[in-house]
């Protein structure tokens, strides 16, 4: 794994640590930030150590992120992000869940896309799953989820 891969996450963590320390030591009332100051001090020291090691190329722990992994992950991650941050609220939980579930199944199911039966099976699995979720959350647990434009 190349050095740059370690520098990015440890750099972000170091930046967050510095921001936490800055806020902790500058915001008022000071009494409310006593504990955060304690944490922030240790946070910055450890983050600086990690960042320094990454810059020097001494960071060895972790499998890192490979190109093939990113290629596999990206479509699923995008669907998940759209589902969580937009569709669940805009379309309603059950509609969004059905759509996201079906798309994810289609994207990652190893069964061939060329067979009609595969698509029917995916549709059936999606329908059964959403029905179970509705039964569990709406009927059993009485959780009122956003229904919005659809269901």
């Amino acid at each position: 794994m190349n050095r740059a891969q370690h520098i990015v996450p440890s750099g972000i963590v170091f930046a967050v640590g510095c921001w936490v320390a800055w806020i902790s030591y500058t915001q008022q009332p000071a009494e409310a930030f006593l504990f955060p100051r304690l944490i922030a001090t240790v946070f910055v020291v450890l983050a600086a150590w990690t960042f320094g090691k990454a810059v020097l190329g001494l960071s060895k722990v972790g499998a890192g992120v490979s190109r093939s992994m990113i290629i596999n992950l990206t479509p699923g991650l995008l669907v998940a992000l759209i589902y969580v941050f937009w569709a669940a609220k805009a379309l309603g939980f059950y509609t969004a869940t059905a759509a996201a579930f079906f798309i994810l199944l289609s994207l990652y199911d190893p069964a061939p896309h060329s067979e009609v039966w595969t698509w029917i099976r995916r549709g059936i699995i999606t329908g059964v799953f959403v029905a179970v979720m509705y039964g569990l959350f709406a009927l059993l647990l009485n959780v009122y989820t956003p229904r919005e434009i659809l269901f």
Binding site: H6, P9, V13, V20, I23, Q27, Q28, P29, A32, F33, L34, F35, P36, I39, V42, F43, L46, A47, W49, T50, K53, S59, V61, G62, A63, G64, V65, S68, I71, N72, L73, P75, G76, L77, A80, L81, Y83, V84, F85, A88, F93, T97, A100, F101, L104, L105, L107, Y108, D109, P110, F129, M133, L136, F137, L141, N142, V143, Y144, T145, P146
Partner: protein, 503 residues
């Protein structure tokens, strides 16, 4: 012997039904690779909101116990450990299955799990009340150091890199400070309206444990499980019991190792199973048979990883310090019902405490009884394509996080923490210390502030927090755990360098 009075409560219809459902469901979930016990328990928490505290805990406890045991099914029949705790089981269990002794391996694994598990829960029953009374002597400074100890022990022992483990703990402690300060009412680190009320523990737990698993499954792409379920032949359960008790050394080493390791915060079932396997091999007359389908290997590994379950709850129920990530999730389950562990739990809610602990004892027996029958089904469920599992877990995470407070903010927090954790894990950071930091942060801060007030009125902060026998002992344990981990890391690195040089 107070626990005996509450045995009947486990058999009330709903409680027993939940125990049964949690056990069978846990066995199936445990057999599914990628669904760890911690994640299974975290995803179950939203289902306990409508239940009484004790019923909710029975469900969570049953799931915890049986997911650990259920992991042996896929370890034996598919050569894929259901959870890290079952890695050692794969070594001999799968070879036995390939030799046509799959049923025997499964029977031995469930019987050994039950023996180890019952011993572990008995240890929990007899140690907990004593330690809970002892915990009354703890003042704010001791509780502060205990909370720090919980984070540092897991941070240093559970991570591949000590510094990154401790840094993960720090991130968790910082996340716990987000929101309004309890004493001054000041806003702290609220950079988005969704964080106004702080980070919800349950949503965070779901995000930190479930979402990285979902993304890991996505990252594998369109791939089949690639493992075939080995068909099991019939085998007499009595013969398996005779075999188990013909191997008392493996059973006792596994049970004792698991129990002791369970008591140490931060050291998980994976280590318990591997250490027990290694020790049994060392003391066995048939060293050569290990790894080639020897029943002692399965007995040692499975008795150890289940013996660990009960003792891992001792620090949680007595000192509010979860000893493992799963115990941290159980603490979340307790807190949402307004119950705080420690002596308060045994003094004011003995029905909850003892019924829960008793249910774990009975759960071990149920797990053994049903495990043998559910194994075949569980192995088939384990073959479900990862795409289906990933989509199910994602949807359950979204619904689960939302149902905590009916807030989309919690869903966003869950998703952000989960995605962040996935990438951090790829670079050696660890979710366990982060979660413990998040859970123990408020305990550490409350006692730090309270202790600070006492110190200002008496001997001063430095004397109050750094002197006294118990304070110094706890500080010494914190430093020792870090030093030990650093030493182990340096030793491992030296070995690697030597091997590289030899190559």
């Amino acid at each position: 012997m107070e626990f005996i009075y509450y045995f009947g409560d486990v058999f009330s219809p709903l409680s027993f039904l939940l125990l049964l459902g949690g056990t069978i469901g846990g066995l199936i979930l445990g057999a599914t690779p990628g669904l760890s016990p911690t994640m299974a328990v975290a995803l179950l928490i939203p289902f306990t909101f409508q239940l009484e505290a004790v019923q909710g805990l029975i469900l969570l406890g049953a799931a915890y116990t049986s997911t650990v045991a259920g992991g042996a099914v896929s370890a034996i029949l598919l050569k894929i450990p259901g959870a890290p705790a079952n890695i050692a089981t794969t070594l001999d269990g799968h070879t036995m299955a390939k030799q046509g002794q799959g049923a025997k391996a499964l029977q031995l694994s469930f019987l050994a799990s039950a023996v180890g598990g019952i011993f572990g829960v008995l240890l929990l029953i007899f140690l907990t009340p004593v330690l809970a009374q002892w915990a009354l002597a703890f003042g704010p400074s001791h509780l502060f150091w205990l909370a720090i100890l919980g984070v540092t022990v897991i941070g240093s022992l559970d991570s591949a890199s000590v510094v990154k483990g401790l840094l993960s703990g720090c991130i968790g402690l910082w996340l716990a400070t987000i929101g309004f300060d309890d004493i001054m009412g000041a806003q702290r680190f609220i950079f988005h309206p969704a964080l106004g009320g702080g980070i919800n523990i349950i949503a965070a737990l779901i995000g930190l444990f479930a979402i990285p698993q979902v993304l890991t499954m996505f990252a594998k792409g369109r791939r089949t499980a690639g493992a075939e379920v080995i068909e099991v032949q019939k085998h007499s359960i009595l013969a398996a019991m005779r075999e188990l008790f013909r191997r008392p050394r493996a059973l006792s080493i596994g049970t004792l190792t698991g129990s002791i390791i369970g008591l140490i915060p931060g050291v998980g079932g994976q280590i318990a199973g591997l250490v027990a396997y290694d020790q049994t091999k060392k003391f066995s007359a048939d060293k050569d048979k290990f790894g080639k389908g020897h029943s002692e290997g399965v007995i040692a590994a499975e008795s150890a990883n289940n013996a660990m379950v009960g003792p891992s709850l001792v620090p949680l129920l007595t000192l509010s310090i979860p000893g493992s990530p799963t115990a941290a999730v159980l603490l979340g389950g307790l807190l949402i019902h307004g119950i705080f562990p420690g002596s308060d739990l045994f003094d004011n809610h003995p029905d909850v405490a003892w019924t829960f602990i008793n249910s774990m004892l009975i759960g071990q027996v149920l797990m053994c009884l049903f495990g043998l029958y559910v194994a075949g089904l569980a192995a088939r469920v384990a073959q479900v394509p990862q795409s289906v599992m990933a989509a199910i877990v994602l949807a359950l995470s979204v619904f689960g996080a939302y149902s905590v407070q009916s807030s989309m903010g919690d869903v966003y927090v869950m998703a952000c923490l989960g995605i962040g954790m996935f990438f951090l894990e790829r670079f050696g950071f660890s979710a366990a210390p982060l979660v413990l930091g998040l859970i123990l942060g408020p305990i550490a801060e409350a006692n730090f502030i309270q202790g600070g007030m006492i110190a200002d009125a008496t001997v001063g902060k430095a004397s109050y927090f750094l002197t006294g026998g118990l304070n110094m002992f706890l500080i010494a344990v914190v430093l020792a755990s870090i030093a030990y981990s650093v030493w182990m890391e340096l030793r491992a690195r030296r070995h690697t360098t030597k091997e590289e040089a030899m190559a």
